[in-house]
């Protein structure tokens, strides 16, 4: 089980993404971070902390559950729903940054874009992911990437975060 990111690596990647977000959006004024549960939500929470400590201001932050918008619902057992929390100021005219742990086929992000359009019309939607493992099935790319990891389809990228798994690390596991 090779570890591809250790705890300090993960911290550094998040800090860099925070800086890149601020650079691209010229500050933190109109940005809204939306994490995709579960681990994307945790990452969004951490990114918001890093950004607000860099800029000394509070960041609009929330979660967006995409389960009800998946296109593969009828192909697997029903999943339990996770919380969706949209900041009270809404997303109209904001630069929304979607955050997920692993970018793979791109289908989760497609569903997230569908879900997002129900809540309003953002000025722009950007995507930040901790790991980009390739194998895209849709024309979707990330604006901010923690680390690109070339993988084969029968590998599994496991992102562990202290809040959920008790440890910060990213591993590659072989599936059968």
């Amino acid at each position: 089980m090779p570890t591809v990111l250790s705890a300090p690596d993960l911290q550094r990647a998040l800090k860099r993404i925070a800086h890149e977000i601020l650079e691209k959006n010229r500050g933190s004024e109109s940005i809204v971070l939306l994490g995709i549960p579960t681990r994307g939500a945790t990452l969004s929470h951490r990114l918001a902390q890093v950004i607000s400590s860099l800029e000394n201001c509070s960041i609009d932050q929330g979660t967006l559950d995409i389960t009800l918008y998946r296109d593969d619902l009828s192909r697997q057992a029903p999943r339990s729903l996770l919380p969706t929390v949209i900041p009270t100021s809404g997303i109209d005219g904001k630069n929304v940054i979607l955050i997920d742990d692993v970018l793979f086929s791109g289908r989760t992000i497609r569903a997230a874009l569908d879900a997002l359009s129900e809540f309003g019309r953002p000025k722009s939607v950007q995507l930040a992911v901790l790991i980009d493992r390739g194998h895209r099935e849709l024309p979707i790319r990330a604006d901010y990437v923690g680390k690109n990891i070339p993988t084969s389809r029968n590998e599994r990228v496991q992102v562990c975060l202290t809040e959920i798994d008790g440890i910060d690390e990213v591993r590659i596991e072989e599936t059968l």
């Binding site: 559950d65 009800l68 918008y69 619902l73 009828s74 192909r75 697997q76 057992a77 029903p78 339990s80 729903l81 996770l82 919380p83 969706t84 929390v85 949209i86 569908d114 129900e118 809540f119």
Partner: protein, 314 residues
């Protein structure tokens, strides 16, 4: 989750909590401008109603439509059922039309189970009331409402004192509620005249009483039941006035309830019989909330039963 929702009896505590949790997330979405979700697009839900119903049928229809399912309403009146078609033939017709879910209400107890076990249809069966047996979605929406109003929408119902009052004998709502609320940890007292309290309640593990005025102060929830005149072939009480005086909820009894207590009624109400107009409209009454939550809880049930793949469900 199982393939069908037929009774509260065969629902585990975890299944019930899963439905309630799913409903909580759906209710959060319902509070936003979103009125429609794409989740069940391309699925067909048939409302098969052999008995008159307004709110349950409309509630299921609204729930299915909010999840983008196609809804076919089928009521006994004006259909080939009134020409004497059997349940089996009707079911096979529905199967041929490709129903993914069948919501059934029937005057015979056990009808939903016959439909599910008959092997006539592949889809999920949801019991929307069978005779005097069970009405599981009503119990789930009542549990959801109690949780929302008294417990901030989380956890089980441990420690709550709940009274179910009235026509227990004919009430599928009473049975489903007694079983579910008890499964979730509440303590249940059934209150009814001796003629309307079936002998079998001894097996439900609940308390029972003939006296509504006793211990009225201790209840967190008072759930009134409709006097089901259409199912009464005998006289079960001397007069409506006497019933109303002994077992009706009126302003006097409401004033003795705890400040935080809830007054519930599954509807439709017989105002002036089991519940007086001022009790039905008092600040403790959550009868309209029950209707609103009905749509959300039924969305959760439809999602959990129809949202997944067919061969995983089987």
């Amino acid at each position: 989750m199982k393939t069908h929702l037929l009774t509260i009896e065969d629902l585990t505590r975890d299944d019930a909590l899963n439905i309630l949790e799913t409903a909580v997330e759906l209710s959060r979405i319902s509070d936003t401008p979103i009125k429609k979700l794409p989740t069940l697009r391309g699925r067909t839900v048939v409302n098969l109603f052999f008995e008159d119903s307004t709110r349950t049928r409309i509630s299921f229809e609204a729930a299915a439509k909010r999840l983008s399912a196609d809804v076919i309403n089928f009521s006994a009146k004006g259909s080939s059922l009134s020409k004497g078609e059997s349940l089996k033939d009707t079911a096979q017709t529905l199967q041929a039309m490709g129903a993914d879910g069948v919501v059934i209400r029937h005057p015979a107890s056990g009808a939903a189970k016959s439909l599910a076990d008959g092997g006539w249809i592949k889809g999920s069966v949801i019991n929307a009331g069978d005779g005097t047996h069970e009405h599981p979605t009503q119990a789930l929406l009542d549990a959801f409402t109690i949780r929302e109003k008294l417990l901030n929408g989380s956890g089980d119902l441990k420690g709550l004192e709940i009274a179910i009052v009235g026509d227990i004998l004919h009430s599928r709502v009473a049975r489903s509620n007694a079983l579910l609320l008890q499964k979730l940890g509440a303590s249940i007292t059934l209150i009814a005249p001796p003629t309307l309290l079936p002998v079998e309640v001894a097996g439900w593990g609940v308390k029972s009483s003939y006296n509504f005025d006793e211990d009225l102060e201790k209840f967190d929830v008072v759930m009134m039941l409709r006097v089901q005149r259409e199912r009464m072939s005998d006289s079960f009480f001397p007069s409506e006035r006497e019933y109303s005086r002994e077992y009706g909820l009126n302003a006097g009894r409401v004033s003795r309830l705890k400040k935080s207590a809830l007054v519930m009624h599954p509807g439709p109400m017989n105002r002036g019989l089991e519940i007086s107009a001022d009790a039905a409209d008092c600040a403790k009454a959550v009868i309209v909330d029950q209707v609103k939550n009905g749509v959300i809880v039924r969305m959760a049930v439809l999602y959990l039963l129809l949202g997944g793949i067919e061969n995983v469900r089987k």
